[in-house]
């Protein structure tokens, strides 16, 4: 296996990691490529203290103190000498990023009365990386505010020197050109939804008891993540049935499920290190009951996490980046082509995204103070509803983010299925129906 030595210190020119390459050129309205993680705490957040915490975070993670630039061949990162800005929270999460208003930073720290939120442009890091930044931020905030001194289990240690792995691109390490490339899959079903859309991100947030959902998932022999993916597929199947009455015309329904590769490959990088498991059903073959879907999802998830398949996927992605035609084509040609082909290579293949950050492990000092944790994804134009899941204490929060102004049918089918399955779902929203 060929190993490429990576730049450790962020100076001068820093190449984007393999999966980050697609995000800057495809950034546009309805394609923000951002996500948000946040923690609600019982005490009032003070801006000055948060600024100190951000300063600490950047001191520890100097590789996040970067800005994005367009080079002749590729976009690249370079150290950002400007001060980061702490923003008051707005009306919706994961909107388009204005780098200029953010002093060029690829992350945005936001605060409201009780909330600390970190919004990231995907070129910097993935969900797991952002959670690590957020943990450090909260930790430093609590330290400066004299609330408590603690450390998140598995989080970054403020006083420790950053390891060389933290800003490495493991995809380049794992690339093996002798492997066969992962095959491309056909187009999936996409739900357009009814009514108008605009680029405001409408959120419906469902809070679920971990115990209840765990019991329902366990009864079927699947994990919580698989249960939620199955519910999503089940809801999409119902919608497709209404939209496409002729069975043989029904396209496959697939979900893109980001997988954190850190545990699988043992890397502790703070850059993007995620691949997508594409799991789904073939409604043209017939109607799937929920239990059948759950079985399919369980099998497909297990197969997707197979090391060999993942390496083949990495071979395809990194191989694409290293193709001489792509490598040496100027950015001004690559950018529009990426924009036009990104749907064909990505979003076209799946009908929805469900990203699960898992259970947020909290230090005992924070258990009594935490009110809520959230994770929001930016939806897309092709898949207009995105699902993001995070767990804290004994609650799981499922956030539906959508561009659709009035259509909440997918969310309704998802939640009502869980209610019918005996799970209590509590909803809150930023939609106008509730204001």
């Amino acid at each position: 296996m060929k190993i490429r030595v990576q730049n450790y210190a962020p100076e001068g020119f820093i190449a984007l990691d393999n999966s980050a390459l697609i995000y800057p050129p495809t950034e546009a309205v309805y394609n923000a490529n951002t996500f948000r993680v946040s923690l609600d705490l019982s005490f009032t957040i003070k801006k000055e203290i948060l600024e100190q915490a951000v300063h600490d975070m950047l001191e520890r993670c100097s590789y996040a103190k970067v800005s994005l630039h367009a080079g002749f061949f590729w976009y690249f990162l370079s150290p950002n000498p400007k001060q980061p800005i702490v923003h008051p929270e707005g009306s919706y999460p994961s909107g388009r990023f204005s780098f200029k208003e953010n002093n060029g930073y690829l992350f945005k720290v936001l605060y409201s009365e009780h909330r600390i939120a970190l919004e990231c442009f995907h070129a910097l890091t993935d969900g797991s990386g952002a959670i690590a930044y957020l943990k450090l931020l909260v930790e430093r905030y609590c330290h400066h505010a004299d609330i408590a001194d603690f450390q998140f289990p598995g989080g970054l240690i403020f006083k420790a020197r950053p390891s060389i792995q933290e800003f490495s691109d493991p995809f380049q390490h794992l690339y093996d050109k002798t492997l066969p490339s992962y095959p491309k899959i056909s187009k999936a079903y996409h739900r357009k939804g009814n009514g108008s859309i605009d680029d405001r991100v409408k959120v419906i947030s469902a809070s679920i008891s971990t115990k209840q959902i765990k019991a329902r998932a366990k009864a079927r022999g699947i994990t919580i993540g698989e249960y939620l993916s199955s519910t999503y597929l089940y809801a999409l199947q119902q919608l497709q049935q209404q939209e496409v009455p002729v069975r043989r015309r029904r396209k496959p329904i697939r979900l893109s499920v980001p997988m954190n590769l850190r545990k699988i490959f043992g890397y502790e990088t703070m850059r993007n290190f995620t691949l997508f498991a594409v799991i789904g059903i073939e409604p043209a073959l017939g109607y799937y009951t929920f239990d059948e879907i759950a079985k399919e999802v369980h099998m497909q998830m297990a197969m997707s996490q197979d090391r060999k398949r993942l390496l083949s996927q990495i071979r395809r992605n990194v191989g694409g980046e290293r193709t001489p035609l792509i490598r040496f084509a100027p950015n001004m040609l690559k950018n529009p082509l990426f924009k036009l082909l990104s749907d064909y290579l990505g979003d076209d293949q799946y009908s929805g995204v469900i990203s699960n950050l898992g259970q947020l492990e909290l230090p005992p000092a924070l258990e009594g103070v935490i009110r809520r944790a959230d994770f929001h994804l930016s939806p897309g134009l092709l898949n207009r509803v995105a699902l993001a899941v995070i767990g804290y204490l004994d609650t799981i929060v499922v956030n539906f983010t959508s561009f659709l102004n009035t259509d909440t049918e997918l969310e309704r089918l998802f939640c009502t299925f869980m209610v019918e399955d005996g799970i209590e779902v509590t909803l809150s929203t930023n939609r106008e129906t509730d204001r």
Partner: protein, 295 residues
């Protein structure tokens, strides 16, 4: 906390309706809940930020990239082959074609907006082609012609024209007159035939149109058969052409006479007599019908 009676989901305190099915929450009097802290610090704005989406942006960027590459290629090839001085027209043509495509993809996809922009670009392009030799001549007639085309084929479909059709008709007529005056000025450097020929011919046209309009508007129930409209149009057309012959001979020969339009005048007279006789016969028939007597 309330539950949605339709979906069965629990709603956060103070919710007025279920976010999934919009079923309103009705709580007994005295049990109304206070709204909890909202999901986000601010309310959702009334509208989005807007902007160009990914595909459109991609197409625009691709056009710009191809523009730069083709401009460089054309310029260098012409310059290196010793024809650099003649490179303006191909370079300008490529730039205008690119601009046209970019605007077609970036502005609102509505007929009036798109057609207006493309008309403007064609007019500018014609000026540019003419100005290649640093002199403007034929484009002074060609470019405004695009404007007149816009007046007749785009402007009537605009919202403003639809709201005020009479004003729109006036604007079209004024635009046409101005264009004819411009042609006269460009070709003769003064208003030679515009005043003695064009204005009287237009006046004839307006008078004929006015007379027929008045006649038809007095019709019972304002119902005009299609045949009447066609025949009236023929009379107006033939009459106007006859007046053109009349005033043109006056301008060219100094004697007002009809040189080639006597047949048209005769035809229009016959049609007019036919129209009048049909109208009279209708009135007579109506007069003697029982329906008429009763009313």
């Amino acid at each position: 906390m309330a539950y949605c009676i339709r979906c069965g989901v629990k709603l956060e305190e103070g919710s007025k309706a279920c976010p999934l099915c919009k079923t309103p929450v009705h709580l007994p009097e005295g049990m109304e809940e206070q709204k909890q802290q909202p999901l986000f610090a601010q309310n959702l704005p009334s509208k989005g930020m807007g902007g160009v989406n990914k595909t459109r942006k991609g197409v625009i960027e691709l056009i710009v990239s191809l523009l730069v590459i083709s401009e460089l290629t054309v310029f260098l090839s012409m310059w290196l082959s010793g024809n650099g001085s003649q490179s303006f027209i191909p370079l300008f043509s490529i730039a205008m074609a690119s601009l046209s495509l970019i605007l077609a993809f970036s502005v609102k996809p509505a007929y009036t907006v798109q057609a207006s922009i493309q008309c403007l670009l064609v007019a500018v392009y014609l000026f540019g082609l003419d100005a290649a030799d640093l002199k403007i001549s034929w484009s002074l007639i060609a470019s405004p012609a695009v404007g007149v085309g816009w007046l007749y084929f785009v402007y009537p479909f605009s919202r403003r024209a639809a709201q005020k059709p009479k004003t729109a008709a006036g604007v079209c007529l004024a635009g046409s007159l101005a264009y004819l005056a411009l042609i006269n000025l460009v070709l003769e450097h003064s208003l030679t035939w515009f005043i003695p020929v064009t204005l009287p011919v237009i006046a004839t046209l307006l008078v004929l149109l006015g007379l027929f309009g008045l006649w038809f508007s007095k019709r019972k129930n304002k119902r005009v058969p299609l045949a009447d409209v066609v025949l009236a149009t023929l009379v107006v057309l033939f009459g106007t052409i006859t007046s053109l012959d009349f005033f043109l001979s006056g301008y060219q020969l100094g004697v007002f006479t009809l040189r080639w339009s006597r047949g048209l005048l005769g035809a229009s007279f016959v049609i007019l007599v036919f129209l009048v006789s049909v109208s009279v016969s209708r009135r007579v028939r109506r007069y003697f019908t029982s329906h008429n007597r009763h009313t």
